[in-house]
Amino acid sequence: MKMPFELLAPYLRPSLYLDPGSGSFLIQLLIAALLGGAFAIKIYWKKIKVLFTGKKPEEVPTPTEPEVTPMVTPEDPAQGDQNDK
């Protein structure tokens, strides 16, 4: 009979002060190959892009940049009393 602890024992060491959670550890082991592979492809893809565009990776805009929603300028008096609730 194998308990999660025995399976995880090689990874545990005294400096671990948080319980990493056996499920949380195991799921990372299960998806490791997938995430590692996907990341490797991403890096190579960026390199290929650089080859064609001549831009350094920092200059390649990331498509996942958070969108900026235009906001009301609080100092605009035309908005009336922003504080008036």
């Binding site: 009979m1 194998k2 308990m3 999660p4 399976l7 990874y11 060491r13 400096s15 671990l16 002060y17 948080l18 990493p20 959670g21 056996s22 499920g23 949380s24 550890f25 195991l26 799921i27 990372q28 082991l29 299960l30 998806i31 490791a32 190959a33 997938l34 995430l35 590692g36 592979g37 996907a38 990341f39 490797a40 991403k42 996942t64 940049e65 958070p66 969108e67 900026v68 929603t69 906001m71 009301v72 300028t73 609080p74 100092e75 008096p77 035309a78 908005q79 009336g80 009393d81 922003q82 504080n83 008036d84 609730k85």
Partner: protein, 464 residues
């Protein structure tokens, strides 16, 4: 160890060290246990790079006696952040920026051969408008082959609340008030819309993660379920990149909440609004407070009267949409003196955690030098039925100076509040207000706001 030493009550989980105060100065003892990790943090250039990027709080090594010399390796003195706030007080974008800061730190740590050993949302604080890691002892030497020990904590502290706020309801950030170690993933999995199961990132990091936690919780596991697992550095980078992608993909647009569509409804003319701002500016100028707490700040118009004078100002509001707008403005203008936060004044943040001493209540984090209570009294006195003497007591506990706006019953906003209920507020009038507040405060100045029925007061708390 001197008699004036006091260990910070929230600092007990990690044996790497702890915070203590001595004669009003905050120190962090680094234990021998953490020596190798601390040395690598400092010598690898990681510390310098993170401080330069504004991601880690700066510290200096202090030549003072340790609080527990037998355990100590060093004592460091961290730079103080402007204010300690908590995840349940953050707007969506603040929370998201805190999560992205944590992941950015982890990426840089990996480059330097280190890794975060915790990913607590409480370790991130907002300082001069930006998220910063305040726990210098969060790093450990990276050991290739090991999964990320802080993965569970990151998902519970950041990913689950952000996903719930973005995809279910913005108010679910308040679950962080209940669960001190983050939102349980099985709960997040149940609450999130079913379609999120088909989103790869959320499907794996929340739903499958929750299922794995349930499956392996105290049950026997056959070794062959994870044959020769190897979690190499590429896998770790892939994991962090995947989490970053999921977090960046979560968005929330302030709309449909309490005040978001209310901004047009005002009963202030432009002239009255300007006069009110002028008066607030005059009172702030007269008192020159060290800091200001603007209670009920909306998106921070009047907070900026103080903030623009270089005074650190907390901009509290109940509405997550207003706080979101306020924070976006801080980011856009790179403001360093305004910290917008969410709080319900009728139920302010309580003391929480172990022995109720890990997270401080709103009041414990004060007192403020000056409190602004603009256009809030009618909400507290009428909507929430708080009698005036209790209001005066509360504000006296919150700060030394008070700038308060009295909104009479005849005001159309008060009439709106009374429209659907019986008027039981016979004592709610200017004379009673002044008499009651005079018990706790000295009224230095008061002026009618031109073009309105309202009045602005400058009061100072009486010496006890």
């Amino acid at each position: 160890m001197t008699n004036s030493d006091s260990r910070v009550s929230a600092s007990f989980r990690d044996p790497s060290g702890f915070l203590f105060t001595r004669a009003g100065t905050l120190y962090r003892q680094v234990n021998q246990y953490y020596q190798a990790d601390y040395d690598l943090l400092m010598k690898s250039g990681l510390y310098a790079a993170l401080v330069k990027a504004g991601l880690l709080v700066r510290h200096s090594e202090a030549a003072v006696e340790a609080r527990q010399p037998a355990l100590a390796y060093k004592v460091i003195q961290p730079e103080l952040v402007q204010f300690i706030s908590y995840p349940y007080e953050w707007s969506f974008s603040q929370y998201k920026d805190a999560a992205l800061a944590t992941l950015a730190i982890q990426k840089r740590a990996l480059e330097a051969g280190m890794s975060l050993k915790d990913a607590s949302a409480y370790n991130i604080q907002f300082h001069r408008g930006k998220p910063v890691l305040i726990d210098t002892l969060s790093f450990e030497i990276f050991r290739e082959g090991e999964p990320w020990v802080a993965y569970r904590q990151f998902c519970q502290h950041f990913l689950a609340p952000l996903a719930l706020m973005a995809l279910k309801d913005i108010r679910l950030s308040q679950l962080m008030r209940v669960y001190i170690d983050g939102v349980p993933l099985d709960l997040a999995s149940q609450l999130l819309p079913g379609k999120t199961r088909f989103n790869f990132g959320l499907g794996v990091h929340i739903h499958q993660h929750a299922a794995a936690q349930k499956r392996y919780a105290g049950k026997e596991v056959k070794l062959e379920t994870a044959t020769n697992p190897r979690f190499n550095k590429m896998a770790m980078l892939g994991l962090v990149d995947s989490l970053e992608g999921v977090v960046k993909g979560l968005t929330w647009k302030p709309a449909g909440t309490e005040w978001a569509e209310y901004y047009d409804a005002t009963n202030y003319s432009d002239a009255a609004f300007e006069h009110k701002r002028e008066l607030v500016g005059k009172f702030v100028e007269r008192v020159q407070p060290k800091n200001v707490w603007d209670m009920g700040a909306n998106n921070g118009v009047f907070s900026r009267v103080a903030g623009d004078k270089g005074i650190f100002t907390l901009s509290w509001d109940i509405d997550p949409a207003a706080v979101e707008q306020n924070y976006r403005f801080v980011k856009e203008k790179k403001e360093e003196n305004i910290l917008p936060l969410v709080v319900d004044l009728t139920n302010p943040s309580p003391a929480l955690g172990w022995n109720n001493q890990e997270r401080q209540s709103l009041e414990q984090r004060g007192p403020a030098d000056m409190v602004l209570a603009l256009a809030v009294i009618h909400h507290l006195a009428i909507s929430n039925n708080v009698p005036l003497p209790q209001l005066a007591d509360y504000f006296a506990g919150l700060g030394s100076w008070l700038v308060i706006e009295f909104v009479p019953k005849s005001d159309s906003q008060v009439q709106r509040l009374l429209a659907s209920r019986k008027d039981i507020f016979t004592d709610y009038n200017q004379a009673t207000f002044e008499a009651v507040f005079s018990e706790n405060f000295t009224i230095h100045e008061s002026e009618a706001i031109r073009g309105s029925e309202r009045r602005l007061y400058l009061m100072e708390k009486r010496a006890e």
